[in-house]
Symmetry: C2
Subunit: 312 residues, 2 copies
């Protein structure tokens, strides 16, 4: 909505869904708030603490859910690095407008490329096979998006992640939507480790799909990655070390005492409420939106996350 | 590219295009830099100063090209407001993550809605008819994108703007891609004037197409609109006045002495070089990208802008 604030606040109060009196017009679609208010407790899941990364930045906390079904070796490596506090003290070194925010060891971006200054990876592996796609598995959860996709034969959602699949070539992969997290690498496909990660902050760069390992999705705190000044160096790297955003710590939730772990829930992408949200987005028609698209693309679908403490 | 900086810089030096020795692999696609280096002077155009808005923010200068062919009444109104210095001293009041950055009169967002505090619009109109689409005109320049579109029957580019059209319903409209500029309004479609504007800063919100007036595109300085802290109020409004980003001035380039006008050029979207760039993006295959998409969507196409002083 591109409304003035006073009006927007008034409209934020959920109105009952009314069937249009005018037969030629579609009925008003329910607002996400209305649909979420009717969701059932079992439609929400708590991310496995083994898959939940907690990244602390000066601006706030970023929560990332890892996707071991799609990049198991990278996820294992990232868990090892988080467990051994590898990421603590590293930094966001690149914010490339309409593309990615990237973080890792500032020494790896050093122009003189002095490898001796790199922080050791500890027990983690320095190189991993490219997990850009995975073998198609009919048993993997998959809720198809009936609208199809511009790039892939089929798209949908698997356990909270946007996914594309190609049954002809027996492949499936995570799609580069806003907030997806991938693994920076050099030219050689075997140079990714998870030591350098990025999050998508612009128009979905779907050309990266199947060309790089995607390991997860930002569940909360995306605004702390997207709302940073853009880097002015080539490819959006920050030109001065003082522009770097320091990472205080990255922890796996399972390494945090249970009582101190983030308490969040994610709406199941195989739930009735999620299907209703997608449908309301697809056919959006209300006081403001008068021309429904009748379609929704996989990267325009929001997957709701809520604070478990405020859940009813 | 998701590369480390030292490597990225090395690769930024254009390499000659080599046909792949392996017959089973496609040839390396040329980099944008290589294609632009071969562009001809007549492939570039200088935006009409009547259509070029120069917005000065503390962070830097934002250049917006207006699209009178698509929203003539709104563009006229915006020209009037710029000419009368209406925007000077207004502010960016909303940064809604993965959606829009919006600016205008902070008093219009005031919760108590005291209209007497609003800055007068001067000679500009307070309300305009909704120019959400325009009547299809075969004479309007249109370079089709052969890949088609997920949402519209047909998409392409018209004089530097991404455009959708529907010949069946005899309509065409500007698409909500990253960097496109539209007119904030209230619920009533006749409440837009151009006093409140927004720029798209996330995944293209194509559902807004045909529901709101789009008036132009950011040519330069997009990073000053996208790289701002996100608002924490409802719909991404800033909660405190001190968070507002003040607009020093907005001028129409034609109101600026010729010698002081921004000297920029935009690649013609009907040029051979533009077609080659789109094709290279569509089929991107190089050392890093090993799986070409074979397609490109209208909002993933970059329209190059250059400094006229450095043009060769």
């Amino acid at each position: 909505m591109l409304l003035r604030r006073c009006l927007a606040l008034a409209l934020a109060i959920a109105l009952p869904v009314a069937v249009s009196a005018d037969e030629t017009q579609p009925a008003r679609t329910p607002a996400p708030k209305e649909l979420l208010a009717k969701s059932q407790p079992q439609e929400w899941r708590t991310p496995d603490p083994q898959n939940l990364l907690v990244m602390q930045l000066p601006q706030g906390r970023v929560l990332i859910e890892l996707a071991p079904d799609f990049a198991p070796l990278h996820v294992t490596n990232i868990r090892t690095m988080a467990h051994e506090h590898y990421y603590d003290g590293l930094a966001i070194t690149r914010v490339h407008d309409n593309f990615v925010t990237q973080w890792g060891d500032p020494a790896s971006d050093d122009d003189n490329g002095d490898k001796s200054k790199l922080k050791p990876l500890g027990s983690a592996k320095e190189k991993l096979p490219p997990e850009y796609t995975r073998v198609y598995d009919a048993k993997l959860p998959f809720t198809p998006l009936k609208d199809g996709d511009f790039y892939a034969p089929e798209v949908g959602f698997s356990e909270g992640f946007p996914v594309a699949r190609d049954q002809t070539h027996q492949q499936e992969w995570l799609t580069h939507c806003y907030g997806m997290v991938g693994v920076g690498r050099d030219i050689d496909p075997e140079t990714g480790s998870g030591a350098e990660l990025y999050a998508v902050i612009g128009q979905a760069p779907r050309a990266l799909d199947r060309n790089i390992a995607v390991v997860g999705r930002v569940l909360q705190g995306m605004e702390f990655l997207s709302g940073l000044p853009r880097g002015t160096g080539p490819l959006g790297f920050y030109e001065k070390p003082e522009q770097h955003v320091m990472i205080s710590s990255v922890r796996l939730a399972s390494d945090i005492p249970a009582a101190q772990r983030p308490q969040i829930q994610v709406l199941r992408t195989d739930s009735a409420t999620f299907a209703a949200l997608v449908d309301a987005k697809r056919n959006r028609f209300d006081d403001f939106y008068r021309v429904p698209t009748g379609k929704v693309d996989v990267c325009s679908v929001t997957i709701p996350v809520r604070d478990a403490k405020t859940a009813h």
